[in-house]
């Protein structure tokens, strides 16, 4: 057999022959033991009915479309093994995450590469002696799409070699095994199967949010429990508000608090507003003092007012500060730089006196006073202003950010254009 590939559908039902070429049974399933090797098939399950046998990968002389030849016959009965990822039972027809394509897919078939294993003496080609066929299977890809569907529907109906000929006309659609993330809701089994969600942490939070929305609640919660809180927070703020609430309610309060702490205070407040009071109280109690008080303050405001929309993450300086002071302040708040448009000037009472567009800092001398760089007209809104009026103001003055002040004109928060966009989108 020239091609080094073998499909799981072809493997299923393949006859297993002992050293003297007598048939023992047929392949019923194959399993990885991810703690030993992430891609090599470690066990083949053979037999029928209740009495299944287990063949270890190093007991095999050769694997081809004609069958599996053993090099050694001390087979053990199969008993359920928690450390096994069984392809047929646990992978086929289930959902996995395609990390590269950033979506949830359903596994139709699995492609193996047949390679020779020359590890520990009793493997290798020497024993079988009859064929040149390799003796080990490594998972290469997970197949989705029409080609694999055709293969599975026809398997056992017409000979495997015909199917191979037939499927050549259909373009393949597969995901490399490295980019597959298995979804397992049970945390203990996740450990035993060596499943981590680290790969998911590299996906953009917005894409990750789409993935979460496609999964069932149990799987979704499992991933939230195990990924990094910062990633979880970013993804959570992109998720549909109803789902946000159900996710947080399902998590342990400590973990939920870790995630909420990482969110921007205004988003955190929005999420907590969607929860039942007892749950949000529990989560707030678990939070660190500083973010907790910020979020609590925001929770006081009505949702459809400027106070309910605003964010408390902004940089403000005294009105007497210079460009140099501003740069120093920026260096101290690196986490905010990504979306920062303006700095705010306040007097000694905390009252808002000016807005400085950040870009102006770059063309000004270090010693210059910020007051001289401030925008010509000071536009702000008060905390109890209605959402519609705030939106209108953004439109009228083409704003990217709008400072929000309380009754005594003290700066209390900022509304940014992205808040406005999500308000408008959810209308």
């Amino acid at each position: 057999m020239a091609e080094s590939l073998l499909y799981f559908t072809e493997l299923l039902g393949l006859p297993v022959l002992d050293v003297r070429g007598r048939r023992i049974g047929r392949v019923r399933d194959a399993a990885l033991v991810p703690l030993i090797h992430p891609a090599r098939i470690d066990r083949f399950l053979v037999g029928g009915g209740w009495a299944w046998l287990t063949i270890r990968y190093d007991q095999i002389a050769s694997i081809s479309l004609d069958g599996i030849r053993l090099s050694q016959e001390n087979l053990t009965p199969y008993h359920s093994d928690e450390y096994m990822l069984r392809i047929g039972r646990d992978l086929l027809d289930q959902q996995i995450i395609d990390v590269n394509g950033r979506k949830v897919v359903r596994v139709t078939d699995v492609t193996f590469e047949r390679r020779n294993f020359n590890g520990n003496g009793n493997g290798g080609n020497g024993h079988g002696g009859i064929s040149e066929d390799p003796n080990c299977l490594y998972i290469l890809e997970v197949d989705v799409g029409i080609r694999s569907i055709v293969r599975r529907l026809l398997q056992g109906v017409i000979p495997a070699r015909w199917i191979r000929g037939l499927q050549r006309t259909i373009p393949p659609k597969s995901i490399r095994w490295e980019f597959c993330n298995i979804v397992e809701a049970d945390p203990q089994r996740r450990l035993r199967l060596n499943i981590s969600h680290e790969k998911l942490e590299r996906i953009h939070p917005a894409d990750l949010a789409d993935i979460f929305e496609e999964l069932g609640p149990a799987e979704r919660e499992a991933i939230f429990e195990s990924i990094d809180s910062e990633v979880a927070a970013e993804a959570l703020s992109e998720i549909d508000p109803k789902m946000q609430a159900s996710i947080l309610e399902s998590l342990e309060p400590e973990k939920a608090a870790d995630i909420v702490e990482e969110m921007a205070p205004d988003e955190a407040a929005d999420v907590l507003k969607g929860l039942e009071e007892s749950t949000s109280e529990e989560i707030l109690d678990e939070m660190e003092v500083a973010p907790e008080s910020e979020v609590r303050e925001l929770l006081e405001f009505k949702e459809d007012t400027a106070g309910g929309m605003m964010n408390t993450e902004y940089i403000s300086l005294h009105e007497g500060a210079t460009v140099e002071d501003a740069l120093r302040a920026l260096r101290g708040n690196e986490d905010q730089l990504e979306s920062l448009n303006s700095l705010y000037l306040v007097d000694s009472e905390g009252r808002l006196t000016g807005t400085v567009p950040v870009a102006r800092l770059f063309v000004a001398a270090n010693g210059k006073f910020l007051k001289e760089l401030a925008a010509e007209t000071l536009i702000s809104a008060s905390v109890d202003e209605k959402q519609d009026d705030v939106t209108e103001r953004f439109d009228k003055y083409n704003l990217l950010a709008l400072p929000i002040v309380d009754e005594e004109r003290r700066l209390t928060g900022v509304i940014t254009a992205d808040d406005i966009i999500s308000v408008l989108r959810h209308k």
């Binding site: 086929l92 027809d93 289930q94 959902q95 979506k103 897919v105 359903r106 596994v107 139709t108 989705v144 799409g145 569907i149 599975r152 529907l153 999964l215 069932g216 609640p217 149990a218 979704r220 549909d240 109803k242 789902m243 159900s246 309610e249």
Partner: protein, 411 residues
């Protein structure tokens, strides 16, 4: 007090949609014809079936919405995960066939109801098909769902036309609670037809998917259940009024067979222009409504079960199979109505045969899934529920196989 009621109503409205829409679409062109025929031929006699039908409908629908809320997955997803690709493929293939003929029947409903308003089918069907296609492809599901909910209001037209006909209410009330079983072939056929049109396979897939799409969780499920039950009751109330108006208008003047729903509408003419217009408008609304939902639901179900990209929020090239399936169902479903001499009646009989095969499979899968602890956790069927559900399913299987048998004979 007021406040707690207000939050309760708000919570109910938040889950309103899936069950209510599914149940109403159930009264599509085919359903209206079946009920009209029952009333025109048998008068008030068939009314007693509505209570058991409602109970069966509630039992079946409740399982679906519960599965959707707990697992967060569609019915075709669960069938695929538990029973494998081959079975899923067979179920999906049968579903496409059954639903395609349903779409045809509903485009025929659009054509014939608008012909009552003197609109040629060569105008109404292409325009209707284009409108339905655009609604989903260019719109989004949330806004479409609002339109669908609004369309549910128009079923009131049947209630009003039922009242306008001035049927014999005493007799209607008595027969609603008094079962009459006759060993008459036509009568039994009619009963089976009524049950068969009320509980259909596509509804289970649509309802569960809609519950998932709406993001209803196990916690909110209590409200969702109320919504499902409410929807089922409304459906059968509408069915009641259709039967009653045909009984009062047609049967009372001499029992006879009618051959399509527009004939029933014409039978209402002696009771005034309004009864007639409302009945026809109701038929139009129901046909358009079902012609919207069926292709969409089919495309979703098939793509999810077989693992193709799906969703109206995706672009055409991202989910080609989804969009092609959706488009073809509408195009074929509409086109055959315009073909002179197309054997539509035979097609519908044929679809009832496939339905008789498909429904038992789907119902049995549903009970097995609803009892699967790995999927349903603490929300599996209770023992009593299982008992009731199995009885319903066995009766349903018997009836739908009988209907299939009858349809095979008349093919």
């Amino acid at each position: 007090m007021w406040k707690s009621w207000r939050t309760r109503i708000a919570m109910f409205l938040a889950v309103l949609g899936p069950g209510f829409i599914t149940a109403n679409v159930d009264n599509d062109a085919g359903g209206i014809y079946t009920y009209s025929q029952a009333g025109a031929r048998w008068g008030y006699l068939p009314l007693w079936t509505l209570i058991p039908i409602t109970i069966a409908l509630i039992l079946v629908q409740e399982m679906c919405s519960r599965m959707g809320a707990v697992s967060g997955k569609g019915l075709s997803d669960l069938i695929r995960e538990e029973f494998g690709l081959r079975i899923t493929f067979v179920v999906m293939a049968l579903l496409v066939l059954v639903n395609l003929t349903n779409v045809m029947a509903n485009f025929a409903g659009i054509a014939s109801s608008l012909e009552l308003f003197h609109v040629s089918r060569y105008i109404s069907v292409p325009l209707g098909a284009l409108g339905i296609w655009l609604l989903i492809v260019k719109g989004n599901y949330q806004s479409a769902e609002k339109i669908f909910l609004f369309a549910c209001i128009f079923y009131v037209s049947y209630i009003i036309s039922g009242i306008l006909v001035k049927p014999n209410w005493t007799e209607a009330a008595i027969h609603s609670f008094r079962p009459v079983v006759m060993l008459d072939r036509d009568y039994i056929e009619m009963l089976i037809g009524m049950v068969g049109t009320t509980i259909a396979p596509w509804m289970q897939f649509y309802l569960q998917a809609a519950v998932v799409e709406k993001g209803i969780t196990a916690k909110e499920y209590a409200n969702s259940r109320v919504e499902v039950i409410f929807g089922c009751i409304v459906t059968d109330v509408v069915a009641f009024f259709i039967i009653v108006s045909c009984a009062g208008a047609i049967w009372a003047n001499g029992p006879r067979d009618i051959h399509d729903a527009t004939e029933a509408a014409r039978g209402l003419l002696p009771f005034g222009q309004y009864a007639y217009l409302l009945f026809s408008a109701g038929l139009l609304n129901a046909s358009v409504f079902a012609a919207c939902i069926l292709p969409l639901s089919t495309a979703y179900t098939v793509c999810e079960g077989l693992g193709f990209e799906s969703g109206v929020d995706k672009r055409f090239h991202e989910a080609p199979i989804f969009y092609w399936l959706y488009t073809l169902l509408i195009v074929i479903g509409g086109a055959v109505v315009l073909l002179p001499g197309f054997p539509l009646v035979r097609m519908i009989l044929f679809s009832q045969v496939i339905n008789g095969v498909l429904l038992p499979i789907v119902l049995i899968f549903m009970i097995l899934l609803a009892n699967n602890r790995r999927i349903m956790q603490g929300w599996v069927n209770s023992r009593f529920y299982n008992f009731a559900a199995w009885i319903t399913v066995i009766v349903m299987i018997g009836l739908s196989l009988a209907l299939a048998g009858i349809s095979v004979r008349s093919l």
